[in-house]
């Protein structure tokens, strides 16, 4: 195994961790406002195609359409609030909604091919909030804007830990990581850090466990660094129990938006019944007034489908064959899949399914942890000065509870439904605020404790050493007495989360005892993480992805234990508290890990309405 053994020190003003949609927005905006500042982007893959938008996308899922009076920002707040069963940060949502149209107009100017409605002359709507695009090159376009604005971009460098300033309590001062191609150790010293590292897949065991394990809906490479990095630096997290389960085409995980929203396809049970209608009264008994939210919340739609499957009326079918009657619709449908889930096309081709002739099966995914979709897990952040009520504001927009540390996109909790355009917009908000923060503290130079940095260096490369020391005990294969491989650890973690914390094998059901047992098992796994072995740099990256996933899982389980209700049936169920409990739990859950004592504390914060 060749490792360069080199150390590279990078001094910068603003460090952006993760070059996805939020990170690119943060770079673009901070370079605009901070003309004389160094803006550094660090990305573990290559920003050209990294993150959740690697394929491209076929729709921009958040566009208000203010110029055509299509919607107002407050309409979006109401929609997202209903979908999340009440628990949203309305200040953060309104803030994104009032800016997001300017982001979309920039994308068009940069070269993203938009689709126009011939009758109205407006962007072609897919649904009330979504507009359709020819989006195969969506990510390369957005990445180009960031690349050309940044002072420097480090591709192929994975950030493993944030650095704190030893002289100032609770202040971030940079980050460390390693180059996944040559093994150089990187030390970034920065006056502000923006974490934009995306959500997490492979926390829960996926439905496919063989060669198809990578075909999860959420990309296999996003491993929750967005949460693991700030948690370990002492930042507070919110709503980590709020996991996302999506209804998608079975096995291929193709998107359902175009068929459901634009073509108005229906889904039926095996008897041809539209189960969402027949099951509605039963749903109302479970969730009360929340059943009247329009449109029906994403989790409730999952719930009625799951009931149908449990009662033996599967498979659930989406009737694409009834709505793909013109060549234009057929072509738009294929583009929808080729632009963002090519694996689904392979699945149809392999199984001789042409969606214009035959229906397809739907099912629910394994749970994911993220904050930009129909879900709101992530960091507890300050909102903007002009909108945020007391308790939601502490000086700088999108700053976490650690000084100088900002977040955007999936990183930020309480503000769901921002999707690609809203994540980029939130990156812009964080970028501008970080510039203000740096300029407001002109005398600051980042400090770090040398012994801490050298200890981190040893820790980062330890899996390579574990392998070198332990491999002689192995005749052949992967069964070693003294170490485990990252894949072993991942299998173990996914099994724990699946069986104890409400994964697919229990139909998303859990309870206090299961969760407590799961937590025990995660803590034991975390002890074993210092015995993970890596044969090469590829496995070293996997080792650190596993480490971050274990931190995310611990936070998820602690939050799920704390919230004693079933807020989002269809995402997960607390069998011991099966109902929505507005009297006690119409609040945010907030956790904090203390990096000095190693203790976690859990508390709640009020949900404050800003829009009627």
């Amino acid at each position: 195994m060749r490792v360069s053994g080199k150390t590279k020190v990078v001094d910068t003003d603003i460090l952006v961790v993760g070059g996805g949609f939020a990170g690119c927005g943060a770079v673009y905006e901070s370079a605009y406002w901070g003309r004389n500042l160094r803006i550094t982007l660090v990305e573990k893959a290559n920003i050209e195609r990294s993150g959740a938008v690697a394929h491209g996308l076929s729709a921009i899922n958040l566009y208000i359409g203010m110029r055509w009076n299509e919607n107002k920002p407050e309409d979006f707040v109401r929609y997202a609030r209903g979908d999340l069963v009440g628990l949203v940060r309305e200040d953060l949502l309104f803030d994104i909604a009032r800016h997001v149209d300017s982001t979309v107009h920039l994308f068009e100017e940069w070269g993203l091919p938009m689709i126009y409605d011939k009758n109205t002359g407006h962007y072609q709507r897919e649904g009330r909030w979504q507009i359709m695009i020819h989006g195969e090159s969506y990510k390369p376009i957005v990445a180009e804007a960031a690349r050309r604005s940044a002072t420097e971009v480090y591709n192929r460098v994975m950030v493993t830990h944030l650095l704190k300033d030893p002289r100032i309590p609770n202040r971030v001062s940079g980050a460390v990581g390693f180059n996944v191609r040559d093994g150089s150790f990187y030390i970034f010293r920065a006056k502000a850090v923006i974490v934009a590292a995306g959500g997490a897949s492979h926390i829960y065991r996926p439905r496919s466990v063989g060669e198809g394990a990578g075909r999860t809906w959420y990309p296999p490479w996003n491993n929750g660094s967005a949460y693991a990095l700030p948690i370990q630096a002492g930042a507070s997290m919110t709503q980590m129990e709020n996991k996302l389960v999506v209804t998608r085409f079975k096995d291929g995980y193709g998107p359902v938006g175009f068929y459901f929203l634009a073509l108005k396809a229906v889904a039926t049970n095996v008897y041809g019944e539209e189960y969402e209608k027949t099951k509605f009264e039963e749903l109302r008994k479970l969730v009360g007034k929340w059943a009247d939210a329009k449109p029906l919340p994403t989790c409730f739609r999952n719930h009625v489908m799951l009931q149908e499957i449990k009662e033996g009326r599967g498979p659930i079918l989406i009737h694409t064959e009834r709505v793909t009657e013109t060549p234009e619709k057929e072509e738009a449908a294929w583009e929808d899949f080729l632009d963002m889930t090519i694996g689904q096309v392979g699945m149809w081709a392999a199984n001789n399914i042409d969606p214009k002739d035959k229906p397809s099966e739907l099912t629910t995914s394994e749970p994911y942890v993220m904050g930009s979709h129909a879900v709101a897990a992530g960091a507890w952040v300050s909102g903007p000065a002009d909108l945020s009520p007391k308790g939601y504001f502490w000086g700088y927009n999108r700053m976490l509870t650690v000084e100088g540390l900002f977040g955007a996109g999936d990183t930020v909790g309480g503000s769901p439904h921002k999707f690609s355009s809203g994540s980029f917009t939130e990156g812009r908000l964080a970028g501008k605020a970080a510039v203000k923060y740096v300029l407001d503290h002109p005398d600051y130079t980042p400090g770090s404790d040398e012994s801490v940095v050298s200890r981190l260096r040893d820790t980062i490369f330890k899996p390579l050493e574990n392998y070198n020391l332990g491999r002689n005990m192995v005749v052949a294969g992967t069964v070693a007495p003294n170490y485990i491989y990252p894949r072993h650890g991942l299998n173990r973690l996914e099994k724990i989360m699946d069986e104890y914390a409400g994964g697919v094998s229990t139909f998303y059901v859990t309870n206090e005892q299961l969760l407590e047992r799961g937590l025990d098992l995660i803590l034991t796994l975390k002890e074993d993480l210092s015995h993970v072995a890596a044969e090469d740099l590829h496995q070293l990256q996997r080792a650190w992805e596993l480490n971050h996933r274990a931190w995310v899982s611990e936070a998820v389980v602690r939050h799920t234990i704390f919230r004693k209700e079933t807020r989002w049936p269809g995402y997960y169920y607390r069998a011991d508290y099966p109902k929505i409990d507005d009297d006690h739990w119409n609040v945010f859950t907030v956790s904090s890990y203390d990096p000095i004592s190693g203790e976690w504390t859990m508390t709640t914060k009020p949900v404050i309405k800003l829009v009627d």
């Binding site: 605009y32 690697a54 203010m66 070269g111 090159s137 180009e144 466990v209 392979g346 199984n351 510039v435």
Partner: protein
């Protein structure tokens, strides 16, 4: 993707962590990469092939079903030249006071409404 030093060909080091995003396929200048869809749920005998032409701003797809049916599609990818997007630093420098304001770069112009929208009054709590 890694290169095998003996046969000097590229291979996927970890197929079970492949998302079939086709990024490697689209970018290989020799069109040397093929994808065979996930073995644990997909039968053999199909193919999905692609050609991305940035200079023309289009992408072409060919889909072959197991039973031999074939479909072709061509879609636009970009309306501007590669490397034509201006750096955000190339615009006139904003005045320092605007840093205290809520507008982002290019706003309000790029919003295409006269000004940044405000929270509407909320009759239920008497806020006006």
């Amino acid at each position: 993707m890694h290169i095998d030093p003996h046969i000097r060909r590229a291979y996927n080091t970890e197929p079970e962590m492949c998302w079939e995003c086709y990024s490697c396929v689209k970018y290989c200048p020799e069109n040397a990469i093929d994808v065979r869809s996930y073995a644990d749920f997909n039968p053999l005998g199909h193919s999905v092939t692609v050609r991305r032409e940035p200079a023309k701003g289009v992408i072409s797809w060919r889909i072959r079903f197991r039973d031999g049916r074939v479909k072709h599609f061509v879609f636009p990818t970009r309306t501007t030249r590669e490397d034509s997007i201006p750096s955000s630093r190339s615009y006139p420098e904003p005045v320092r006071e605007l840093l205290e304001d809520q507008v982002l770069s290019h706003e309000p112009d790029k919003l295409m409404v006269p000004s940044l929208p405000k929270l509407p009054p909320r009759p239920s709590d008497g806020r006006a």
